[in-house]
């Protein structure tokens, strides 16, 4: 492959790539993001290829394996281009029919289309589906059109033209100025203005300087960085190279957690292809600017996502945070000036350079510009990745895009910001989503996890869940965080097991305040947020656990028991057959009962009991008090 040495070379290659793409007028794109792969996208893509070959259509129809489309709930997702027909939940057995009607006859396979749950109307095109219609997809848009293993796909869509522009038509100061004027804020959680950070690193004394992509996405329930890296790694690389140019860094790192093997594979491949095309290496586009990238696999530690900890890990040490008397922007990796940004932040950069800061500022609110990708998960009908302009209300995200709460249940709260964030109660649903508004409500933007919780979710258990997570994932370096979290976890465990005492809530508040002030890094300082925000908005749930020894949502296992209603039980025995510990016996003819001594409360019986009987139920139970 000849190296691209001028912008004209890139433009020519782009033309060639477009011609190649257009040689086959139609294309079956199959989402091969993690969610769809888990539901069988690999087999599906292979079946499509076989079927198309069998019918001799391979000259007319291409098959493309793309990155995540976002609508993970209904995967595997197939989109037929150029018509943009969207089929959901397609299985290999559906393939002959799809090929027959959609590709040969120009017809539709009705049953695979999206059906509006209210009107029952079938929707044909991607943009008709409410899940997509109310989004503003900029970063995710390319995911759908690109095979991550093929750099030409990215180039055909205008990829690397922002880099060519930056390197040949702009000075590093101009690039920096553009990013500052776009008011891009870091998407990893803190929301610090990216341009300022770049400038600090640029002006800091010391050579060499480094730039880092933080893809140590540890927030449980968030997976947008993974999808971007898997689906369009070149977009992130391009942003990183532009950043390197503006900052004056010649070396970049991509820190990916090893739990994301596909992201590592696709990024490695992208780096290789970029090198082959002269987009990484020496003298990029004849500008005299050299740049190269190394991948570092993270070995699994939530705290390593913190910037100074991540840099320690790249150096080969334990990923523990360092005191930040001097910011990492000035003294980071190997004590050199280092600029670290999240995957999504870097992904925004090529768009800002090619479309301009002014365009970027047209989206969003006063303090938060652009779009943000959220992973909308939990108790919501349309689970998936959604990209929305900043300032959209939570209500729009949950109801218009997410399609509301399953089984007609009532929404209780939305958790944002992961373990550093908090819960937002139903009453604040009209809150516009931006960095400052969420912080004011006691939560935070975080990296973009949005977990929807309904009436069956216990808020005390939620707080306990996060504190437990942090207590295990913290590094233990500073005492306030290590001991503070341990005491909080003890207290929460006591409350959720029915041994809570008056004063426990106040104790939690006191511990929280202490940690916020005394912990070393942001992980420890924000760790009490899930506890404080659940106390703030759901104090009554804490009180119910402490005073009445009841879990109102029926979640905390030590405060509930399973029971079979003898009047409803029809004696089918499904529950007994599905009990892993043989705790269910036939109490009298055709009526089963649960032996509470044996029951491990795994819920298998509730799932097994046929919907028409619904004889198994959870009841409140007195906690069995153990000597504490």
């Amino acid at each position: 492959m000849p190296r691209l040495t001028t912008p004209t070379d890139l433009a020519n290659l782009r033309k060639e790539a477009i011609t190649r793409r257009e040689a086959t007028p139609r294309c079956v794109t199959i989402c091969c993001g993690t969610g769809c792969l888990a539901t069988g996208a690999t087999d599906l893509a292979a079946t499509f290829e076989q079927e198309i070959e069998k019918r001799g259509l391979e000259k007319k129809v291409a098959v493309r394996r793309t990155g995540c489309h976002g609508f993970c709930e209904r995967g595997p997702i197939v989109v037929i281009l150029p018509e943009n027909v969207c089929y959901l939940g397609t299985r290999p057995k559906d393939v002959p029919e799809v090929v027959d009607s959609s590709l040969v006859k120009g017809d539709l396979v009705e049953r695979l289309l999206y059906t509006d749950p209210e009107s029952g109307e079938r929707m044909v095109h991607v943009d008709d589906i409410p899940f997509y219609k109310h989004q503003k997809r900029i970063l995710l848009e390319n995911n759908v059109l690109i095979d991550a293993g093929n750099i030409l796909d990215y180039i055909a869509l205008g990829g690397y033209s922002a880099l060519a522009r930056a390197l040949t038509q702009m000075t590093p100061e101009e690039v920096l100025g553009e990013v500052i004027s776009a008011e891009l804020r870091g998407r990893g959680g803190g929301g610090f203005p990216a341009g300022w950070k770049w400038e600090t690193t640029r002006n800091a004394p010391g050579e060499p300087k480094y730039v880092i992509v933080n893809a140590d996405e540890g927030d449980p329930g968030a997976y947008m960085d993974r999808s971007l890296l898997e689906g369009n790694p070149h977009g992130i690389l391009e942003g990183l190279i532009i950043g390197g140019y503006a900052i004056g860094a010649y070396e970049g790192y991509v820190y990916v957690r090893q739990e994301y093997p596909l992201a590592i594979k696709n990024t490695s491949l992208a780096i290789e292809q970029a090198r082959e095309h002269g987009l990484l290496g020496e003298d990029l586009f004849g500008s005299g600017f050299d740049f190269d990238v190394t991948i570092h696999r993270g070995a699994g530690a939530f705290v390593s996502g913190e910037s100074s900890a991540l840099m320690s890990a790249i150096e080969g040490h334990v990923g523990e945070p360092r005191p930040k008397y001097i910011h990492t922007a000035a003294k980071g990796l190997w004590d050199k000036p280092t600029c670290l940004n999240n995957v999504e932040t870097w992904a925004n950069v090529p768009f800002i350079i090619s479309k301009g800061a002014e365009w970027f500022r047209t989206m969003g609110t006063k303090g938060s510009k652009g779009t943000k990708i959220f992973s909308l998960v939990g108790k919501v009908n349309n689970t998936g990745l959604v990209e929305v302009p900043m300032g959209i209300t939570l209500r729009d995200i949950v109801y218009k895009i997410g399609g509301g709460i399953p089984k007609g249940k009532k929404l209780k709260a939305i958790q944002t910001g992961g373990p550093s964030g908090g819960v937002i109660p139903e009453s604040l649903l009209d809150l516009p989503v931006d960095f400052d508004e969420l912080t004011a409500a006691g939560s935070m933007m975080g990296s973009g996890g949005m977990i929807v919780m309904d009436e069956d979710t216990c808020m005390v258990d939620t707080a306990r869940y996060y504190v437990n997570f942090l207590a295990h994932e913290g590094c233990g370096k500073c005492v306030p965080c290590r001991e503070g979290l341990r005491q909080m976890l003890n207290t929460l465990n006591r409350i959720t097991s029915g041994r809570g005492q008056e004063g426990d809530v106040e104790l939690l508040e006191e511990l929280s305040e202490f940690m916020q002030q005394a912990a070393l890094c942001a992980l420890g300082q924000t760790a009490p947020n899930p506890v404080l925000s659940t106390i703030r908005h759901f104090r009554h749930e804490y009180e119910a656990h402490i005073r009445d020894k009841r879990c109102p949502a029926g979640v905390c296992v030590e405060l509930i028991a399973y029971e079979i209603d003898p009047k409803k039980c029809q004696g089918c025995g499904a529950c007994a057959r599905n009990c892993p510990v043989d705790a269910i016996y036939e109490a009298k003819e055709n009526v089963y009962a649960i032996d509470r001594g044996k029951c491990i409360k795994c819920g298998a019986c509730i799932t097994a009991c046929p919907d028409k009987y619904q004889a198994v139920r959870k009841v409140h139970a007195e906690p069995v008090l153990q000597p504490s």
Binding site: T34, G35, A38, T39, C72, E73, G75, G218, D219, P220, G221, A222, Y223, R226, S227, Q258, E259, Y260, H296, R297, A299, G300, A301, F302, A313, I314, E315, G316, H317, V318, G319, S375, V377, G378, K379, T383, G384, Q415, G418, G449, I451, T457, T462, Y465, Y466, F469, E473, C475, R577, N578, C579, P580, V581, I600, K601, C602, G603, A604, T607, A608
Partner: protein, 172 residues
């Protein structure tokens, strides 16, 4: 005597494999985490003799090697089972019933999270978010995801793995 000789040969093979990995990373001390990750995926755990070897090959104190091996979750200092069963405890899975699913799997296998059975067939683990929240609660068995499998399905999956292990034992 023969058994002892074989054990020595096995160790030699292990160290040769470790050497290949170290060479791939150009003996760089800063690449220690990357080297340990490669060792972990090659052996499925970090054997003590390999860690000692690494320490001398790289000139890194053994205590530093163990500090890393203890700190990061990807590393295991005990042999793991042939099959890894991971229950996702991410937030989305948690609110959709991951604790119940874990209780079921744990009861079926007779293992607590983090444990490996005596015959080294299965290791049960919990992980935080696999990034397929739409399938919540999700369990991954040898890399394959399953969305909230029923008890029957879990039993079938585990039985088929057990059967495979028995056949392999007969052949081996």
């Amino acid at each position: 005597m023969k058994r002892k000789e074989k054990a020595i040969l096995d160790i030699r093979d292990d160290l040769r494999a470790a050497d290949e990995i170290v060479e791939k990373h150009a003996f760089k001390k800063s690449a220690l985490i990357q080297i340990l990750l490669d060792i972990q995926s090659r052996f499925n755990w970090l054997p003590r003799h390999v860690l000692r070897w690494l320490s001398s090959r790289l000139g890194v104190p053994l205590v530093d090697v163990y500090t890393l091996a203890n700190f990061y979750e990807a590393f295991s200092l005990e042999p793991r089972g042939a099959h890894t069963i991971q229950v996702c405890m991410g937030t989305a899975c948690h609110v959709r019933g991951a604790p119940e699913l874990l209780a079921r799997v744990s009861a079926l296998l007779g293992l607590k999270p983090g444990e490996t059975d005596a015959k080294q067939r299965f290791t049960l683990e919990t992980v935080h978010c696999m990034g397929c929240c739409a399938l919540a609660p999700v369990i991954q068995i040898d890399g394959q995801h399953y969305s909230n499998p029923s008890l029957r399905k879990l039993q079938r999956l585990i039985n088929s793995l057990e059967k495979g292990e028995e056949e392999a034992a007969c052949l081996g």
